[in-house]
C-alpha cells in the first residue's frame, strides 16, 4: 500500500451531534445491498416515512436503541454514486456534508464488493466518519466468495464489520464499532482513492484555481473532483462562487478535459481493485450460479413474458378470490352496520347531519377503506416480487413493449401496481430515473384499470351481457390498455418530442425474501392509504355529499342533479341520461361510488334489483359506452391528489385530468355510435 494516502483531515467530528443529545447516524449504500433490511432491523416500527424537503424522494428515518440510549437513524437514498445524476445523489451528499451525522454507515455487499465499494470511495472523499458494514456474507459464501474483513479493514483504513442483516448477524458488533468511531477511539485513517495518474496534473491545476473560493462545508479536493466529473450541481454553484475571470480559466481547463470523469471513475476502481485483490478470494469465472440459471427463463424474451403473464395472473387470481370477497364482506358487515348504527344514534340530530355522517363520511370514506384488503394483497405480492429480485426481470422483459411509448422497462413496475390502485402507481413512478419518462408514466398510469373500476364493470356487465359478461370485462381491460399504449405513444411524440431515456438497470441476484422487509413495506403503504382516506378523500366525499343534498335534501332535485341536467347534452353523445352523468361525477371521490349513486337514483323503481332496473332502462349500446367511459373517466381524487404531489405542478395535474376526460368522452361517443350502427 505504498500509494495509499491516509487522509489527515478526516477526523471524526462528534461535537455536532453529541451536543444536541440524540446522535444522528446515517445509512448509505447502493441499491440491493441490504441497506433497507438493516434499517428495518434496527428501527422496526419506530420509523417515519416522509419526503425530503421540496423533493419527491422518500425520506425514511427512525429511532433505535443505540447501546442503551436513543439514536436517530437516517436512511439515505440508495444511489450508485454521489455525482448529481438525480435528486437522490444530491440529497445523500448534502445530508452528509451539511447535517454532519456522527457516523455514516456504508453498507456494502460481500458478494459484490468491487461494485459496492464505489460508493465508499465517494463517501471517503466527503471526509465524514465512516464505518463499512460488510453485508451479505452468506450470499458471498454461497457464491464461493471469501472476504477477509481484517485485510479489508487494513487496506481501507476504515473499520469494517462483517454481517448478515437478513438474519440479524453482526448487528451488535456494528453498533459497538459505530460507538467507538463516534467517541474518536480506534484507528481512523482512511486511504483515499486517487485520480488516474494522467489527470493528476489537471486536478492540481483546478484545485489551485478554486482554492479560497469553495463555500462551506464543501471539501476543496472533493469540489475539484466533482468539477472534473462534470457534476451539474457543483459546476453551477462554483460558477457563481468564482469571480468571472477565474471561472473562465477553470472552464477552459474543464472543456479541454471533458472525458476526465472517466479518469476519476477509473481512479476509484483502481483503488477498489487493489483493496479487493488483497481481501477477496473469487471463485473461478464461468461457473453459472442460481441467478444465471433462473434468468435463462425469467429474462428470456419469450419465456420471460409467459412467466410474467403467469405471475400477474396469479396475483390477480389471489386478489379476486381472497381480496374481493373480503371487500364485499367488509362493505356488508362493517360499513353497512356502522352506517345503520350511526343512523340510529343520530336519530335526534337534524336530517342533514345524519345524512352527512351516514352517507357523506361513512358511505364515502368507509367504502374507500373496504378496498384495503385488496390493496394489502397487492402490496404484499409486489413487495415479495421486489424483494426476491424478480421485478428487475419483469422490467427487463417488458422493455420492448414500453419502447412504443418512448419509455423503458422500469416504467412497467408502477403501471403494474396500478391494477391494484392507481394511487401507489403514481407514487411508484419514483423508481424511474428520467424526469420526462416519469412524468409520462404518471400521465398514463390512471389508464390502468384499477380494482374499483373492475368492481363497477363486474356489477354492470352481467346485468346487460349475461353469458358474454366475461368477454365484455376482458374487452374493457384490453381497451384500457390499448388507450394507455396509444396515448403514451402520442404524448411522447407531442409533448416530449419522441425522446427516450437511457435504460441502465442492475439485475440483482435472486435471494430468499425477508418477511420483515415485506411486512414493513405493506404496513407503510397501507397506513399512507388510510391517511389519505382520512384527509383528502374525506373532504371530497363531504363536498360531493353536500352537492347531492343541497338545497332541500333530495338527490333528484339537488345541485348535483342540476349539474347532471346541465351536462346532459354532452352525456347524450354517449347515450347517457342525466342520471348516468351524475353517477359518473360521483365516481370522482371513489370509482365504485357509481353503483351507490345509481342505487339512490333508481331507488323508487318497481323492479326488484338495481341490476335488473338498469337493464330494463338502458340500451345495450348505452351500457357499453357507460362501461367504456367508466374505464377511461378522470382519475379518482386520491389519484389526482398524488399526481399533484408527485408532479409538483397544477399544470400537469390538470393536463392529466383533461387528457382522461377527453379520452373518455371520445371513447364513449365512438363506442355508442358504433354499437348503435352495428345494432348491438
Amino acid at each position: 500500500m505504498s500509494d495509499c494516502h491516509p487522509s489527515v483531515t478526516a477526523v471524526p467530528s462528534t461535537q455536532a451531534s453529541l451536543t444536541t443529545g440524540t446522535p444522528v447516524i446515517a445509512l448509505a449504500g447502493q441499491p440491493n445491498m441490504g441497506k433497507s433490511t438493516l434499517f428495518n432491523l434496527l428501527t422496526g416500527l419506530n420509523q417515519h416515512v416522509g419526503n425530503w424537503p421540496g423533493k419527491t424522494v422518500e425520506r425514511r428515518q427512525g429511532t433505535f436503541d443505540f447501546n442503551g440510549q436513543p439514536a436517530l437513524l437516517v436512511d439515505l437514498p440508495g444511489t450508485y454514486s454521489l455525482t448529481a445524476n438525480s435528486p437522490e445523489e444530491v440529497i445523500a451528499r448534502e445530508f452528509i456534508l451539511r447535517e454532519k451525522p456522527a457516523v455514516v454507515v456504508a453498507v456494502v455487499s460481500a458478494a459484490n464488493l468491487e461494485r459496492s465499494m464505489y460508493l465508499v470511495a465517494e463517501l471517503a472523499a466527503l471526509e465524514a466518519p465512516l464505518v463499512v458494514a460488510l453485508n451479505m456474507m452468506d450470499v458471498a459464501e454461497q457464491e464461493g466468495i471469501v472476504v477477509d474483513a481484517h485485510v479489508l479493514e487494513a487496506a481501507l483504513g476504515l473499520p469494517v464489520v462483517p454481517m448478515i442483516a437478513s438474519r440479524a448477524v453482526g448487528v451488535k458488533d456494528l453498533l459497538r464499532v459505530v460507538e467507538k468511531v463516534m467517541m474518536g477511539e480506534g484507528t481512523y485513517s482512511p486511504c483515499l482513492p486517487e485520480i488516474r495518474p494522467d489527470h493528476q496534473e489537471v486536478l492540481e491545476k483546478i484545485r489551485a484555481q478554486i482554492n479560497g473560493y469553495v463555500p462551506d462545508p464543501y471539501p476543496l479536493r472533493w469540489i475539484a473532483l466533482k468539477l472534473l466529473e462534470g457534476d451539474v450541481e457543483v459546476t453551477r454553484f462554483m460558477q457563481s462562487a468564482l469571480p468571472p475571470a477565474k471561472w473562465d480559466e477553470v472552464h477552459q481547463i474543464l472543456m479541454a478535459h471533458d472525458d476526465a470523469f472517466l479518469a476519476v471513475a477509473s481512479g476509484r476502481y483502481e483503488w477498489i481493485g487493489r483493496i479487493v485483490r488483497a481481501a477477496v478470494r473469487q471463485p473461478r469465472v464461468g461457473q453459472i450460479g442460481l441467478t444465471g440459471r433462473l434468468d435463462r427463463w425469467a429474462a428470456h424474451p419469450v419465456w420471460g413474458l409467459i412467466i410474467l403473464a403467469a405471475v400477474l395472473g396469479l396475483v390477480f387470481w389471489l386478489t379476486f378470490t381472497i381480496g374481493s370477497p373480503l371487500q364485499q364482506w367488509l362493505d356488508e358487515n362493517a360499513v353497512a352496520p356502522l352506517a345503520g348504527w350511526a343512523g340510529d344514534h343520530l336519530a335526534w340530530a337534524p336530517f342533514w347531519l345524519r345524512g352527512m355522517v351516514v352517507d357523506g363520511i361513512i358511505g364515502g370514506v368507509g367504502s374507500v377503506l373496504t378496498f384495503l384488503p385488496i390493496l394489502v394483497i397487492f402490496f404484499a405480492a409486489f413487495a415479495l416480487l421486489e424483494d426476491v429480485g424478480y421485478m428487475a426481470r419483469a422490467a427487463y422483459v417488458m422493455d420492448n413493449v414500453m419502447h412504443v411509448m418512448g419509455l423503458h422497462g422500469k416504467s412497467f413496475l408502477p403501471l403494474f401496481l396500478g391494477f391494484g390502485c392507481n394511487v401507489p402507481a403514481v407514487m411508484g413512478t419514483r423508481v424511474i430515473d428520467s424526469p420526462t419518462a416519469r412524468l409520462l408514466t404518471i400521465l398514463i398510469a390512471p389508464l390502468v384499470p384499477c380494482t374499483a373500476r373492475m368492481a363497477v364493470v363486474a356489477f354492470i356487465a352481467p346485468a346487460f351481457f349475461g353469458r358474454n359478461a366475461t368477454l365484455v370485462t376482458w374487452g374493457m381491460v384490453l381497451l384500457s390498455l390499448a388507450a394507455l399504449v396509444g396515448s403514451g405513444a402520442l404524448l411522447n411524440k407531442v409533448l416530449f418530442k419522441g425522446q427516450r431515456s437511457a435504460f441502465i438497470m442492475e439485475m440483482p441476484l435472486y435471494h430468499i425474501p425477508n418477511l420483515r422487509t415485506i411486512g414493513l413495506l405493506v404496513w407503510q403503504r397501507s397506513i399512507s392509504f388510510v391517511k389519505k382516506a382520512g384527509t383528502a378523500i374525506l373532504a371530497m366525499s363531504l363536498l360531493v355529499w353536500a352537492l347531492s343534498y343541497l338545497p332541500n335534501g333530495d338527490l333528484n332535485t339537488s345541485l348535483l342533479a342540476r349539474l347532471g341536467h346541465f351536462l346532459e347534452p354532452v352525456g347524450r353523445w354517449m347515450g347517457f341520461d342525466w342520471r348516468l352523468t351524475v353517477a359518473l361525477i360521483t365516481s370522482f371521490p371513489a370509482k365504485e361510488n357509481i353503483i351507490a349513486t345509481l342505487g339512490v337514483l333508481f331507488a323508487n323503481s318497481p323492479d326488484s334489483g338495481l341490476a335488473a332496473t338498469l337493464a330494463s332502462t338502458f340500451s345495450t349500446a348505452t351500457a357499453l359506452s357507460f362501461l367504456v367511459v367508466t374505464m377511461l373517466f378522470i382519475p379518482c381524487m386520491a389519484t389526482v391528489a398524488v399526481t399533484k404531489q408527485e408532479t409538483n405542478s397544477w399544470k400537469w395535474t390538470l393536463i392529466s385530468i383533461f387528457l382522461m376526460l377527453g379520452l373518455s368522452i371520445a371513447g364513449g361517443t365512438l363506442v355508442y355510435h358504433l354499437a348503435m350502427w352495428t345494432g348491438v
Binding site: Y80, S81, T83, N85, N112, L113, E114, R115, Y118, E229, G230, D258, F261, L262, A265, S266, Y269, Q282, T291, G292, D295, A299, H300, P301, A392, A395, Y396, D399, N400, H408, G409, D433, R500, A502, F503, I504, M505, E506, M507, P508, L509
Partner: protein, 78 residues
C-alpha cells in the same frame, strides 16, 4: 501476443463473449451513470444475453446489468 484491433460496439458481442471497454460515445449523463455501475475504459465485459434485438444483459465487475440496445451500441469494445 498479436493484437488484432477489432473494435465493435457492445451490442454486437455474442453471448458468452467477453471484451474490453475502449470508449463511450453516449452523452455525458449516460456515461456518468455507466461509470458508477463499473463501466470504465479497460474493464472486461461478458455478454450474458443478446438476442440481436431488445435489451441485453452483461456482467461487469461481477454485477449483472441490463442495458438498452441503444445504450449498448454506444459502448465501443475491443
Amino acid at each position: 501476443m498479436p493484437e488484432p484491433s477489432t473494435r465493435k460496439s457492445l451490442s454486437e458481442l455474442a453471448v458468452g463473449e467477453a471484451a474490453i471497454v475502449h470508449a463511450f460515445q453516449g452523452g455525458r449523463a449516460v456515461n456518468n451513470r455507466l461509470a458508477s455501475l463499473g463501466f470504465t475504459p479497460g474493464v472486461q465485459i461478458t455478454m450474458i444475453q443478446n438476442f440481436g434485438w431488445g435489451p441485453l444483459i452483461v456482467i461487469v465487475r461481477g454485477t449483472r446489468v441490463a442495458l438498452g440496445r441503444g445504450e449498448a451500441s454506444q459502448i465501443i469494445v475491443e
